[in-house]
Symmetry: C2
Subunit: 436 residues, 2 copies
């Protein structure tokens, strides 16, 4: 429990974020004491391989590979759990809560998949879970939706929540490089995981959006209820054509109240080039939130990275040490009584779209595609075929870009299924909504 | 004291912001109860003229012109004080604290001038003062610097904090209008006060910057220690020339740690056109804060206006009702023990500058000015004279724009004093730093 004595914490996981946490605890202990009135003491560390060399000094702190050392230590009040993935994180957090420890986590996959279960357990046991670092790294967006903007009914959230995807899309356009080349470089530099699937296919952003949506609207949204597309099939051509039309392509995560229903999607999206989301480059994140009283608020900054994420973890530590975190977490329990907002069926999402097809360069292909769109009542606003320079072209293959007037996701899916059967189709089909 | 019972509040002042507060209390009571677990009840209102017609329904709430009705009511726990100016606000807040009431205020002029005294009194009496709405309206920037970013040492703050000035500068450029024309329109629409002096001369922004600086760095900065210039002498020509050079002119409030000293200024500043501050238009505010761990964070949105400001006031009410506000306010007391950071003397601020002179169109004027700059070791990077169209020109008068290389405020002040004595000078001299 918070109080005026020393605060004894344990750290489970000492990878990138964990090392950043150690660094702040060691270099800013005066700051932490000023902010909390308490001494913050790192009493135990649990890692997979205690023998591994690390770039932070852990001398004087017992390091173990066994979380039981933490669970069994009655002096530990709160545990910073910064290990990714579901297992053993789920079992760890459960055991920690049951042992009377409060938990600070940065694990959005865990919160997305088992947040309700773990929050329920914590509420039952009178424990606290803090998770500022789980969404948008150093940007205090969890704090904004759970405290600062709480006098508002949230109307919309529009965000860039995956730094890896944003880095790749920004770099492809800046350097005129292919997706594959940029990904390889990002992996070499450590900006992208060895297996980047969850980042580039929209899963990571969708998990974060689901967490924000639950907090902002009180509606639990499973991943398969989110219109979700990744960036892995976006070509440089798409970015160049979009740029010529005055847009940037961003992996946009949106949840929006519309006529009493919640529209929710994670998709590469054409955003007007002068809008703040379009200007958010590299690994940065941005979250725009509209509230009925406050209007449109924007928060941006580093959405990942060692020190920004550690900064968010330590903000949780400070909030915990002062007792604020327990109050905020209790208020989340009351919010569960909110009436859930029904989801807009995916098929009914209505937007303008950018469509791109790779087709055999032969007669009647355009006519075939236009015919299918027309039969699905999709109205074409403009058409272009491969005018952009700097694209490595395959011989005999053309790229066809079609911009539509406003239509629905359902009509497009229906048209897409028919177009996919055309013999003249080659490679991937790209469908991106255009943000208004 | 916060608890689980009803929360009885009083409202002093029912102008623009006060009416917004009434509106949220009346329309969102379910939301407030969900967030706090308590019923928030508006028990008393104090206004100058109780007979005045208002656009919110106050029926059922006792309305008085005497704050003693609130002070004497033992059921009132917290008072929302939204009256501008120093008097009687200072005496009101003092009396309220002494009567055992906690206070929520949006009055930055009061906090700037008497914050130390009022905070000291509140701390002595065990009372709480909340002031999220005092800086940047709906943007939760007080919350960010007092809670979310507290694991960081703040390195710099760069902000647009005065919506009126930003509206005027944005509109002048958009519509190619003069300062006077835009100001008149802004006053007619209620965006600018009948007496806009504090907004356009930089006082309002400097007061807000002083409050943020005290919270972020622990250093109290009086207004006369801030390099401060307003926008009232900026001409459309200045905005057009800046635009041609790739800049926007913004009334930028900055406080920055540099070599152990704090540089602090509020000045119309040339900002690269693609930077977020340059893209912040109309009455919006933006605050960029750099922390040693989190890196650069940006917060933007409505910096004023009825509902955004009321949203911030109600965020304070919710924070108060849950008990978080008291904890945060206590932590501010501990921060007073921080060592104060010395201020960089104004004369030593080093930047590139935009200079504009209105001069008699006769020989040797440029030579005279260039000579004075040279004697003050100010190196010229470019010169131009009146090439911009759309400017109503006075006959026989030319406007001369000089961009300098990096130099100091002191050298420029010295040069300016000499240039001011030139017989060929007409009208105002403009000096704006260029943000790097």
């Amino acid at each position: 429990m918070p109080g005026n004595s020393d605060l004894n914490i344990a750290l489970v996981g000492c990878g990138t974020v964990g090392s950043g946490v150690v660094r702040i605890v060691q270099t800013s202990s005066d700051l932490l004491t000023q902010r909390t009135g308490r001494s913050i003491r790192l009493r135990r560390i649990v890692v997979r391989d205690p023998a591994k060399k690390r770039d932070v000094d852990l001398s004087g702190i017992p390091v173990s590979d066994d979380i039981q050392t933490v669970i069994a230590d009655p002096d530990i009040q709160v545990v910073i759990h910064v290990v990714g993935g579901i297992n053993p994180a789920r079992a760890d957090v459960t055991s920690l809560l049951e042992a009377g420890k409060d938990v600070i986590t940065a694990n959005k996959a865990l919160l997305y998949a088992h947040g309700a279960e773990l929050f329920g357990l914590a509420h039952k046991l009178g424990r606290t879970i803090c998770f500022e670092a789980a969404v948008a790294g150093g940007i205090p967006i969890i704090s904004a939706v759970t405290t600062a903007l709480t006098a508002n009914r949230i109307v919309s959230i529009e965000a860039i929540l995956n730094g890896t995807s944003n880095f790749i899309l920004s770099r492809m356009l800046d350097r005129r490089q292919t997706y594959e080349d940029v990904l390889t470089e990002a992996q070499a530099r450590g900006y992208a995981e060895a297996d980047p699937a969850m980042d580039v296919d929209g899963t990571d952003a969708a998990q974060k959006l689901s967490i924000l949506t639950q907090l902002a609207y009180g509606t639990a949204v499973p991943l398969d209820a989110i219109v979700r597309q990744g960036i892995q099939h976006i070509e440089l051509l798409d970015l160049l054509v979009a740029a010529e039309l005055g847009y940037r392509v961003k992996l946009l995560a949106t949840s929006r109240l519309s006529k009493g229903r919640l529209e929710i999607a994670v998709q590469p999206t054409l955003v007007k080039a002068d809008r703040p989301a379009a200007l958010t480059n590299g690994a940065d994140n941005i979250v725009s939130i509209e509230g009925d009283a406050v209007g449109l608020m924007r928060f941006s900054g580093a959405g990942a990275g060692q020190m920004p994420t550690a900064s968010a973890v330590m903000a949780d530590v400070i909030d915990y040490a002062t007792g604020r975190a327990a109050i905020t977490f209790q208020s989340l329990q009351r919010l569960q009584s909110r009436e859930s907002i029904p989801l807009q069926p995916q098929e009914e999402l209505s937007r303008r779209y950018y469509l791109r097809f790779t087709v055999a360069d032969r007669p009647h292909v355009l006519a075939d595609i236009a015919d299918i769109l027309g039969r699905n009542e999709i109205s074409i606003s403009s058409v272009r075929q491969d005018e952009t320079a700097d694209v490595d072209d395959l011989s005999g293959v053309a790229r066809l870009v079609i911009m539509t007037h406003r239509t629905t996701e359902g009509r497009l899916r229906s048209a897409d299924a028919a177009i996919a059967k055309l013999q003249s189709l080659r490679g991937n089909r790209i469908r991106m909504p255009i943000a208004d």
